[in-house]
């Protein structure tokens, strides 16, 4: 009797190639629109802050409203990018005409939608920056120029991950390397490639974290410049250094995505195709853990800006605390990267003699377990932010503050380590195989 995987594949292949791709494109278009969450939340926050500011300083209503609208306009970007991608998939679908296996191309269409979800982050982050800038221009309209500059600079950096995702989506739609790799291959290879494409898309979701975090840092810089215009240069410097750190996990994800697309390590491997395909999908899912460090490190950058604006002479001490705290907050995205690289390049499951469904599911389980890293990333970043702020207020206490921060961050790491242990057990010491 054929098993359900074979039956499912036969069922998929019973459709026209076009029907399969167009169906997946419909799902991809829908997934892409999830990005709309971000601008909705962010612009709502900006509107709230502008309304609050107008209540407190009605005489500055026009300035504050103008700042809010400019910021909200920037926050709209990722929502519009997603809309454009969805409209292309619906009205000018370039994927139906791609050469290659329908299953690989259908997986790519879903990957397009998953990648665009990262736009949630830039929408929230830019909206936060717009809200803080509207508030700051309300109480200090004379500093509007510096405030707007910080807001726009922060928002531009926050947009990076949304643009990364757009680039990945456009590659899938117009120059799909996954489809090209499936030309002339078996349906089994197409499943490996299709699942890898979905993994590549899921992987990009980690960029959501950087979008939120960097936008937060931009908002805090705008606020600091409003309160104390003399802090402008130091605020911008700290914001940019901190934001660069917060981009790290998004870059890790971009690398894994590009590997899955252009140098897929599963092509030509002699093993069950479902194990290989699920490993590709799981590598992408594991990288979603990087979402946490992005948010947390951005928070730390924002709080470091705030801490420095109280006490400009403490900026070096604050930066040391910020970078130390951010480095610790990076841990979970490094764990995720390690698991993704194991799945791609040193996959222990392919050599095991057991039912293929258990091994494929173990790869997926290992990927899911790494999502736990979101929490430690956010939490440790929060600790780094509060410690940076405290160092700004009382630079003499830097040592005691760092000790408390690191101790607390170590405790916050535990659940991320639990996730890593479960993933490693599933990969290297899988007890389920013996139970069969």
């Amino acid at each position: 009797m054929a098993n359900f995987v074979e039956q499912f594949m036969t069922w998929l292949l019973s459709f026209d190639k076009e029907a399969l791709i167009l169906g997946a494109s419909a799902i991809g278009a829908g997934l892409a629109m999830i990005a709309g969450i971000g601008p909705g939340v962010g612009q709502g926050y900006a509107a709230g802050k502008a309304a609050e500011s107008t209540g407190a300083h009605p005489e500055n209503q026009k300035t504050s409203l103008m700042t809010m609208l400019v910021g909200a306009g920037v926050a709209e970007t990722t929502g519009i990018l997603s809309l454009v991608v969805a409209l292309i998939l619906m009205f000018g679908n370039p994927m139906v005409n791609q050469e290659g296996n329908a299953i690989a191309i259908a997986g790519s269409a879903i990957g397009v939608g998953l990648a665009m979800v990262a736009g949630v982050g830039a929408g929230i982050g830019c909206g936060y920056a717009a809200g803080k800038a509207a508030e700051a221009t309300g109480f200090a309209p004379e500093n509007q120029r510096g405030i707007m500059m910080c807001m726009l600079l922060g928002s531009a950096v926050a947009q990076t991950t949304g643009i990364f995702s757009l680039v990945i989506a456009l590659i899938f739609m117009f120059a799909n390397p996954i489809a090209a790799a499936s030309v002339g291959g078996t349906p089994e290879l197409a499943v490996v490639l299709g699942l890898s494409a979905m993994g590549a898309g899921a992987c990009m979701i980690a960029g959501l974290g950087s979008g939120v975090g960097v936008g937060y840092a931009g908002g805090k810089a705008a606020e600091a410049v409003g309160i104390n215009p003399e802090s402008t240069s130091k605020s911008i410097m700290l914001m940019l250094v901190g934001s660069a750190m917060a981009q790290t996990s998004a870059i890790f994800s971009l690398v894994v995505t590009l590997i899955l697309m252009y140098a897929n390590p599963f092509i030509g491997v002699d093993a069950n195709f479902l194990i290989l395909g699920c490993s590709g999908l799981a590598a992408g899912i594991a990288m979603i853990g990087g979402l946490g460090p992005g948010i947390g490190q951005g928070y730390a950058a924002g709080k470091a800006v705030e801490g420095t604006s109280f006490n400009l002479n403490a900026s070096n001490k604050v930066m040391v605390v910020m970078i130390l705290g951010q480095a610790i907050a990076q841990t979970s995205s490094i764990f995720s990267l390690v698991v993704a690289l194991i799945l791609m390049y040193a996959n222990p499951l392919v050599g095991l003699d057991s039912s293929f469904i258990i091994l494929a599911a173990s790869a997926l389980g290992a990927g899911f377990a790494m999502i736990a890293g979101v929490g430690p990333g956010i939490g440790q970043g929060f600790a780094a932010g509060k410690a940076s702020e405290a160092t700004g207020m009382r630079p003499k206490l830097q040592g005691a503050v760092i000790r408390t921060m690191v101790l607390g961050q170590a405790v916050a790491q535990t659940t991320g380590i639990y996730g890593l242990v479960i993933a490693l057990v599933l990969l290297f010491a899988n007890p389920l195989i013996g139970l069969l």
Partner: protein
């Protein structure tokens, strides 16, 4: 491709379930990090109370850890003492 037995299906689903259970770790991670942040803030304001601050922080963090441990326990049971295969 070989057939999938009922037992293999249960074990495969257990692997996915063990992975999903670990997502619970997000909560303690955020919560304990918040505690660490507030602890560092408090030490910055009142360094003389550092000992008490850390004690309170660690006690609270230990309580926040519980749900992460529940997730871990369920994952470990699914992996190492799977009760589901026995019910087949």
């Amino acid at each position: 491709m070989e057939a999938i037995t009922g037992k293999a299906l249960i074990l495969a689903c257990s692997a996915v379930g063990a992975g999903l259970a670990m997502i619970a770790g997000i909560g303690p991670g955020i919560g304990q990090g918040f505690a660490a942040g507030k602890g560092a803030e408090a030490v910055g304001k009142q360094p003389e109370a550092q000992g008490d601050i850390i004690k309170t922080m660690l006690l609270g963090a230990a309580v926040a850890e519980t749900t992460g441990i529940y997730g871990l326990v369920v994952a470990l049971i699914l992996l190492f003492a799977n009760p589901l295969v026995g019910m087949l």
